[in-house]
Each structure stands twice: as structure tokens, then as C-alpha cells.
Symmetry: C2
Subunit: 403 residues, 2 copies
Amino acid sequence: MNIVVQKYGGTSVGTTEKIKRVADKIIQKKNDGYAVVVVVSAMGKATDHLIAMAKEVSKNPDSREMDMLLTTGEQVSIALLAMALIDKGYPAVSYTGHQLRITTSSAHQHARIIDIDPARVDRALREDKIVVVAGFQGVTEEQAYTTLGRGGSDTSAVALAAKLKASCEIYTDVEGIYTMDPRKLKNARKLQSISYEEMMEMASLGAGVMHYRAVELAGNYSLPLYVASTFADTQGTMIEGASKLMEQTVITGMASSLDDVQITVRHLPADASTLYRLFGELAQEEINVDMISQMITDAGEMHVSCTIPKETKELAQRIMTRWQVENPQIRWELNLDIAKVSVVGLGMRTHSGIAARVFKAMADNDIEIRMVTTSEIRISWVVDARHEDKVVLLIGQAFGLTT
Amino acid sequence: MNIVVQKYGGTSVGTTEKIKRVADKIIQKKNDGYAVVVVVSAMGKATDHLIAMAKEVSKNPDSREMDMLLTTGEQVSIALLAMALIDKGYPAVSYTGHQLRITTSSAHQHARIIDIDPARVDRALREDKIVVVAGFQGVTEEQAYTTLGRGGSDTSAVALAAKLKASCEIYTDVEGIYTMDPRKLKNARKLQSISYEEMMEMASLGAGVMHYRAVELAGNYSLPLYVASTFADTQGTMIEGASKLMEQTVITGMASSLDDVQITVRHLPADASTLYRLFGELAQEEINVDMISQMITDAGEMHVSCTIPKETKELAQRIMTRWQVENPQIRWELNLDIAKVSVVGLGMRTHSGIAARVFKAMADNDIEIRMVTTSEIRISWVVDARHEDKVVLLIGQAFGLTT
């Protein structure tokens, strides 16, 4: 039995009209000889509507009951999609997370999948049925309904595919993974394939499409993920192990964002505990620090700079104000108008000098780099916000990211 | 532990605002020292909305998937109600039919409850929680979700109360059971109590409020049912065993309806199989026959008259046309403009002459009776539709059904 798990997101099943079109697409795959398992999200705005009602009855809704509420969203989608398939003459059956025993941790609203019992899906597939599964949800050992949080439905699909030893196709409202968000870089190139590691770096930079978590799970199982458009009949992108990639380009993709601010703290005591205490306090307030750079001056003082999400800047300001009181010698500043630009590519492992090429492109155009960090397959740097478009264009051209 | 099961219908939880008011009412009961289990229906128009979507994807939606879809309606209500209770400082927990193992037959959309496992409710009540249960739904042995059909949520509440040895309160948008629909008889009297048998007769006459099925189940378990208004703080009606009723009135209630038509067939052969064949064919087409009257003429022919729901009249016409072909001697007619009036009362068992009083009232006012049938506690008769209001008023006065 050649099994494929297809996942359709909320915009793909946003209306009953779209659900019927998705049914046609599923039937096409079935007619190609596949046993098809479909994972669906809640219809378009359904989840938002449910959350709005919850806020009307409680300012801080109970998280178990929130999951009880939200899981209805996918249940509506699976029922409608199964009906549409049956209506078109194809036997189908839908299952909730509870019915499939998609067992999760008990962390409501961001549960982790522990295991899936594939028996019921197996049986239905053997009966030649199309199986429609509610994404984003599971059930605890105590039978409480849970939701998986961001990237949840993709994770459901990957976990199911891994368990069923199936291939996995993620259908969405974009046509695949691009070298760069096409809204930011005109003529950005669609990638035929990208490695799990690169995709994870891109995802953690907020380059939409796939969530870090689902890609990581697919990587753990060496499960190739095909990402393509639901309604446009174009070739998508394969996310797979690096060894399978025919040709290694140096830079696979780029991301840029205006969503961060930069904090710089100067004249800190250079003793061992300072960094630990500083980032410990930020972590305690759940402030996600991304880039960090640090140096010790001739005078034995420490300067630290880091980027944090814009929406946490008030929290960080409060912490810094307190530090200032305790350590009157320090100076700190917040830079609100920054752009964070990153390039990602497995090729960096073997090609040296990528950073130098980036720095040259910046220098040639008089763009000041305010901060740089690098990992094995990523370089990120901070420039003034007003330079974002120019930097994206320069790097896109320099590394051949456009068509 | 003094347990009460309260049931709130769809209009009582139609908006988040109403859900908060229902929460206050539940809390009042809890503060009176009761362990409270609440059964709720889907919010107001939620079910209609789901059905409309189903019709958009399939003209004849699969019944298993229809139940998968419809059960989300109550799941939304229970989550929101539990959130509202928790928000007001009262620990609460919601359960679906699946979670409570409300096991039903596998007849999707009109399943019957087989059993309920009370363990989970027991445990939650012992933890001092208010338990919120999704009405109208259950699960088959094979874990498929089912719905119970008309009167389903009331039936869920009664079954739970019977299992938990609890008392049962049905809250709705009317203030109790009246001698007659107050929209039809001004000053109709609200009953303090009514017996199961009378209520079942009233229910089967379409006298709203309670469905036959829930009343029958309550009667089987000798479980008193209290029916009252959700938001008006007035005394409701107790449905209970006849022996508990202090005073037996002759007539407890009246119902009238314009929803039937009358078929009369004359000159039928008077042999034994005719009636069986005639009503057998009507039954096969799922035409519900209510009143039947029959007589044999001097000439040894049979005349039969019966009432059937107006919406099945085309089906019946087709059957009669076929009979006419097979039996050219018969004559049949359909009377579309009839009113069916009924009086119900346990008192008829001991008081003779009720029928005579009815006939006298009709005769005194020149109202022709087109058909009569009687059961042990009910008399029903058919008059021309234009007389309905007059008959209701006359009988209401004659038997003291008004205030």
C-alpha cells in the first residue's frame, strides 16, 4: 500500500466551495493509486471566532476548556471534507485526535505528540477509504482534549506520515519555499529542494510557510516533506536530507525582518556571572533573545548587544532600568529602527568567505553593520531599518537568489 | 451528596451573554448546597448553521459525518459555559458524550442511549466541581460520534439523572407546562404538576416543551422532572407519577393543530386483510397515521378515515391512486382544511361522560364533528379548520383550563 499523508491548511478549507475543490484534489491522488490520509486545519477564521467567544465569557479562559472549544474547529472541517468526498462517490471517514488516540502531553494549548495509534487508520485504508484526520489536536492519557499550538496541523501530518511510513505533502496558500519572501524580493526564486537544517533556520527567522517544529520532526524521521500550493497546479519544494540534494548552492535563502529591536549595554563588569544574570533575567520574563554579540574592552569592561522581539521592549526596558540603579556606571540604549537580515545555506560549511562577501556588499554601498552573528549555516546582521529594501536587493543579486 | 441535573436548551445559551447568566443560575444552585451536573444544547442557531454548510458540500450528507459535524455544536457550548463558571470562581469541567462514554446505538442522527458510565462525573463531583455535559450526543461501541435526534438533550439529562440518582430540572424558554398553548388559548393555566402519561399524550400531540421520549424515560425510572423558565424566576411544572398528584382534575390539558389532513376511503372490501394492507402501505412510506376510524356498512362494505401529517399528503395521494386502479369501486377523498383538537386527562379513567360533554359543546354551537377517536386518557376529534379558535375557547371554558 502506497500511503500519502496530505495536509491542507485553514485557508485551503476556508469555505464549503474550497472544501469541494480540495476534495477533487484528494480524489485525483486517490485515482493515481495512492492510499490517502488527509490532515486538515479549522476553516479560515473559525478559530478566531471561537477565541473571540471565549474572551466574551472569560478574560482569561481556562486552558483545558479552551482546548475543548478549539478542537471543534477541525472537527467541523473533517466532517465537511469527508461528506464532500462521499458525495463525489469516494468512501471516506473522518477521525478526531481523540478517536485516533493521538496521545499528547497535558500542556493545554501547546501539547506535544507522544504517540499515535495507527490501527484505526490502517483498517480504514485497507477498506479502501480516504481517511480524514483533524490536525492540531490530540488527547491526554486522561482523555482531555489538547491542541498542539503553532505549527500544530503540520506537526500532526508529519507525525502521522512517520507512523504510517507514508510520504507527506503540505498544501498551503504559497507555491513552495522561496529564496526570500517574494513580497520583499521581487523575482525571488522558488527552491526545488531545501534541507531540513536550512528550513529550520529559515523557519526560526520567521520565514513563514513551515513551522520549525514540523520540519524538525520530519528531519528526525528522515521524512521528505513536499510543500506546494493547494489550488495552483505548480511544482512545489521538497524539504529533505542534505545528502539527497543534487547540487549545493552556497546560499539557499534569505530572510529579513523589522520585528526586532536592539539593546546595547556598555561598561558592564566583566566578571563571569554578569552575562548569566543578564540573560537569565530576560529569559525569566520570557523575552526571546535572538542575536547576541559581546566584547571585553581594553579597560576590562564588557559591552553586550542583543536583539529581542519588538513587543517585549517595555519588559526589557524595565529590567535595564533596574540594572542601571544597581550598577550606576553602566550605559544602555535601545535601538528601535533596525532591520535584521540573514542568509542561510548548507554551502557555508564548505565555502569560506561568505561573511566577507556580505561585508563587502555592505561596505560598497555605505551601509553600516551594527551587529553580526554567525552559526554554522547562517549569517545574520543588523542594519538601520531604512536600508532593508536595499540590502535585500543587493544580497539577492550577489548570491543569485532571484530568477 | 445531593445531586441535581439541570438542562439548558439552545435558546438559553444562545449568546455568550446568556451563557454568563446561565452560569449565575447554576452557581445559585451550587451555593444552595447541591452537587450540580449541567447538560447543555448547542447555542441557538449553531446547529442550523452547521446543517447549512453540510448541504453546501453534499445534497445528501453522510449520516456518520453529519453527527461528526453536529456534535461540535454542544462541544462549543460546554466549553464556554465551563469557562464562564471558572471565571466566576467556581471549579468546573466539561465533558463530551464520548468522554463520558454515553454509549448509544449506531443509528446516526437518531441514536438511542444504551448506557452511561457515571465514574468520571462521580469523580469530578467529589472534587467539588460543577460538571458540564454535552447533551444530544453519544458514542457507539466503535467510538463513532452519534446524535440522539429530536428531544435529544432532554433525554441526555434524564438518562444522566437516572444513572446518578439525581433530581432533574429542565430549563427552557417557557415557564412550564400549560393546559393549552397560551398563544392559542388566552389565559391558559400553568400546571403545578402533570403525570408522565398525560405529558406523553400532550407531547405526542405536538404540545411542545417536552419531547415524548424524555418523558417516557423519566417515567420508566419514576424520575420527577421539573420544567421551568431559564430566566424568569417563576414556579414551573413538575412532571411526576400520577400517585403523587394531590388532586385529580378531569381534564389536564388540551392541544389543537392544523398540521394534519384527513383521508377518507369508502366502499372498500370488508375482508380481513384490507386494513392491514392499507396501513401497511402507509407505514412503508413512513407516513405517521394518528387518528383512525372505521366502520362496516349494511351492504358489507368498509369505510375508513384517518389523519396524517400534511407534509405526507402527496405520498398518500399516490398510494390511494394506485388503490383506485386496483379497486375501481372505491371512492376516496382528502380533506385539507381540518383542525385536530384533543383533550387529555387521567381523570377520564374515573369520570365517565367526558366525550358526551365535548359533543354537547360542539352541538350547541353547530360545529360538525368529522371524526372522533378516544384512548384511555385522551379524546381527539376533527372539525373544520375555520372552527379551531372557537372550539379551543369553548372547551377551555367548559373544562376550566383557563385562569
